[in-house]
Symmetry: C2
Subunit: 223 residues, 2 copies
């Protein structure tokens, strides 16, 4: 199991826990939120690595240096914990950083393309794929995932529309088609790269970046 | 559960089964292979729809109008049945039809792109995704999947090289990068389309086809 890149706070020495609710202080609030954060990090790693079915609440609690009771004090069951962890994953998406970067819209698309080979190779991408495969099989899973995909789609749409307004992407091209390509690549590139035993068929970063740049320039209005 | 589009042969009346090995005839051989085919079809649908963990051998047998004994007579366990079903899925891939089509290489790439929205929306795509998600989590799953992805990569590479030789794709572009894009889209488009609750963000077939055509033309050598 890969560990989150976030630093795990030192485990509480226990005194604060024994001091009772009347002594509840800022420190306790901080500890409580630190435990919740560790549990979410562990849930993201564990669900992403092992899948929803195989992951257990006990395992997730162990990964956060705490017990299953700490999970059930916050979430009613494994499904609720998954939903909370997935919302956290959505909050950490690369696109949130890219969309506000002070660069032209086509540069944002290029950054998004470049990130497929590197930055998204983390446990948050595994969680997206786990949420998608569950949603493929069970309609109950679809609303939360679908809403997140819709939010992402709107964000990419805005970038594409900006690029069209700047005259860098042909108005004739369907924004929906471009967004669909971006979202499909976001999930598919991770799935392919993680599934390959050898890296023989994985492009070098420079080659990929040049190729993505050419793809984007190919969408410019024809003179 | 969606049923395979293949016609399911009429269930054997049982007489042939009771006639004993000494009366084994061409008819029996045919029946035997028909049962095996029904089991593989049912395995592809069931594994694809419910995933490896949740799918049971009994359920797969029921879907083929037979019993678990018929499965264990042919495969030692659920894993072996999955491997056989996945090999069947690999044999049915769209690319096998497209690569031998009597059209220019760039038209083959366009056909591959067009097929992402329609033809591949079947249970065989679900099986690919199931195999990928399992392989992400467990190295034991990687060899079979990885070999199949490698075979697919070689086939797409040949098409891309043909297009380069025909002067339709720029020699400067990395074949590996183009192949990676194709494979990522093949899996990712299915994952996104199946996960969306609404079809608001799914492109119309015409728009998609025009966009794919523009993407491919954008890869032509610059004059």
């Amino acid at each position: 199991m890969s560990l989150s890149s976030r630093a795990v706070p030192a485990f509480d020495d226990g005194d604060a826990q024994r001091s009772g609710p009347d002594r509840r202080s800022d420190r306790d609030d901080h500890d409580d939120s630190a435990v919740a954060q560790r549990l979410l990090d562990s849930a993201i790693n564990t669900f992403g690595d092992r899948g929803f079915q195989a992951a257990s609440v006990a395992e997730i609690a162990r990964g956060a240096d705490t017990t299953a009771d700490a999970v059930y004090a916050r979430w009613s069951d494994k499904q609720e914990l998954f939903d909370a962890a997935f919302r956290e994953v959505v909050e950490r998406r690369m696109l949130l950083l890219i969309k506000n970067a002070p660069v032209p819209a086509t540069s944002k698309l290029a950054m998004l393309g470049d990130s497929l080979l590197t930055a998204q190779r983390d446990s948050t991408r595994n969680m997206w794929i786990e949420a998608c495969t569950q949603a493929m099989r069970d309609e109950d899973w679809r609303p939360v995932l679908s809403e997140s995909l819709d939010v992402e789609a709107r964000e990419i749409s805005e970038i594409v529309e900006d690029a069209k307004n700047a005259g860098d992407i042909d108005e004739d091209l369907s924004t929906t088609a471009i967004v669909f390509l971006c979202q499909a690549l976001g999930l598919g590139s991770h799935l392919v790269a993680r599934s390959l035993a050898s890296h023989r068929y994985e492009p070098a970063a420079d080659d990929w970046s040049y190729f993505v740049g050419r793809l984007i320039r190919g969408l410019a209005p024809r003179k």
